[in-house]
Symmetry: C2
Subunit: 338 residues, 2 copies
DNA sequence: ATGAAAGCGCTAACAT
DNA sequence: ATGTTAGCGCTTTCAT
């Protein structure tokens, strides 16, 4: 019965030109309020919804931003970190009226396939890309593309990129400081996957703090846990023979694994070994004892990444944005203090 | 220097019409191979990439599908189930050359805002929507919209919708059967959030199996754990005074909580209480003892949801698709049987 | 304040 | 096998 519901049709029914209808649709000025209301009424009555793709083509902006996750997402998706980050990003997209497109690169082939589509102006107004492993060249290619890009995490090889990160070095420092204040001397570390900047930076903070207190950095007290529970478990097993009196774990999930290893060895936390970890995600409160940990604002981090991107989209790429967010020590039970 | 790189420009440089260039771009027949190669060469040399939005507008299909997650995503995103599902869905999208748009509805307002955009033909070629809580009307509205929709999980109020689900009833049956075979009589259950069909169906399977073996369904042995670790912990605490000799937990995460409660009560698994859970996600193997659990094919489930959607998009909505995937009992340590 | 007209970059029906 | 032509549904100068 009714014709297809285009803006032309709305204009016709309201007795105005398509231009005016468009003005009303986009809340632009220069429309007599009487006419504006008439057009709005027609739109409401007919249940008109503009065609987003047509709007995109005409306006040259899609109102879609892409979240690009590098390979090895299995790792990422077993830690609650990632879902939380995604949630923050999605939240910000909703709030700013952007649609979120998710690109989970699961293989080299996926990257090859999607790169042409997303590196081109058109589909995406901008990209948030999660830093992956060092040497990952997808970031480099995206940064060189036409599309505004913000990196979530510090891109080691691209210091001039727009990025937002958490102050991993400072966070690690305050973790180790806490252990030092409690009188621990043989402080071991379980690192994350050392091909990521987050793991490297936390390691840096650990070393720096020890050195500043004239303590040796003992290689036998450091073991890589790859950010997984099982990795933390195995790392702790390697560390136990060297008798650390405290452990700084680079993530809550790894700390959970470390606790398992410690208990299996017949030791107790915090009596025999104190533990501080990093993240303050659900595992921290599920663990027994509950984990003293470095809180990082994951949700806010995601929001900030999007808002930074929107800023770049709106105001251009210069100067490069560099946002560093603060962490905070949260004291619970795993260090025995308080 | 060079003009903007449109298909017109490619056609001009290759000395053909835009139509021919389009044919080459889309690998369509009716182009002399000599010409095809020439056009392809020009495209490659210039680094031409088609404008996806223009393609969408002209072809009336976007090659984008939406994944809609209902409210209360905090629950969803603390369980590894959801990330896994998303991964399967993303994988399938990649493989079939579709872009995935993620809609995480975090509030009523989000739904109001996005509904007009996604329920309209144009942005999305189709939608995969995760069942939420019973009574959620977003599903109803989406099912009534112009856009092909497949539900992930059984939509209680919409038996005629296209959906894919896991056989939760059968899975729960085999879990309880396993406990019965091992000689357990007082089999308790920790249910999921009873506003979801997954929780209801597993509960149904539990009751049915008991009844088929002439055992009573004892309300004091049943407690709601809401699919969270902490919920499982608290549910188990409520159950302990009633002395179950076995527990069927509706998810691995809840089983983890149950184990915690059992240990804190000074009891042992499987000696004092046997545990079977549901999911077979990472928590199952992290737990000590490792969990005997009902494996559900989460990744494949996501893939299937997308493939079903693509089928509906291609071949129309009739007949309604109803895909039920099988589960499988995985025996580990938490029941004491090998 | 309003409208005419020219795109946005592509696909596809139709003609040759 | 190739090209002509007419859209797809909207935004946006530019006149008036």
């Amino acid at each position: 019965m009714t014709d297809k519901l285009t803006l032309d049709e709305i204009a016709r029914r309201a007795g105005v030109s398509r231009t005016t209808a468009s003005r009303v649709l986009n809340n632009r000025p220069n429309v007599r309020s009487e006419i504006r209301e008439r057009v709005q009424r027609v739109m409401a009555e007919t249940g008109y919804r503009p065609h987003p793709v047509a709007q995109s083509l005409a306006s040259q902006q899609s109102h879609v931003i892409g979240l690009v996750l590098p390979r090895r997402t299995e790792i990422l998706f077993n830690d609650p970190y990632f879902p939380r980050l995604t949630q923050g990003i999605a939240q910000a997209c909703n709030d700013h009226d952007y649609t979120l497109a998710l690109f989970m690169m699961q293989s080299e082939a996926d990257e090859q396939k999607f790169y042409p589509r997303i590196s081109r102006k058109g589909l995406l107004d901008g990209i948030v890309i999660q830093v992956g492993q060092i040497g990952d060249d997808l970031i480099a290619r995206l940064l060189a593309s036409d599309v505004p890009t913000v990196v979530a995490g510090r891109p080691l090889q691209h210091p001039n990129a727009n990025y937002v990160d958490v102050d991993n070095v400072a966070g690690a420092c305050s973790a180790v400081m806490h252990l030092l204040h409690l009188g621990h001397k043989r402080i071991g570390m379980i690192t994350g996957d050392m091909r990521t900047t987050a793991a490297l930076d936390r390691y840096t903070g650990y070393c720096k703090t020890l050195q500043e207190h004239d303590l040796p950095v003992d290689e036998t007290l450091i073991s890589e846990g790859y950010f997984t529970e099982i990795g933390g478990y195995e790392a702790m097993q390697r560390l136990l023979p060297h008798k650390p009196d405290a452990i700084f774990s680079s993530s809550d999930a790894m700390a959970l694994g470390a606790l398992r290893a410690i208990y299996e060895a017949g030791l107790t936390v915090p009596k025999d070994i104190a533990v501080v970890s990093f993240d303050d995600l659900p595992p921290a409160t599920i663990a027994r004892p509950q984990l003293t940990t470095i809180h990082q604002p994951v949700h806010a981090f995601g929001v900030k990444a999007v808002e930074t991107l929107l800023d770049v989209i709106k105001n251009g790429p210069t100067p490069p944005r560099r946002i560093i967010m603060e962490t905070e020590l949260v004291i619970r039970e795993s260090c025995g203090s308080r």
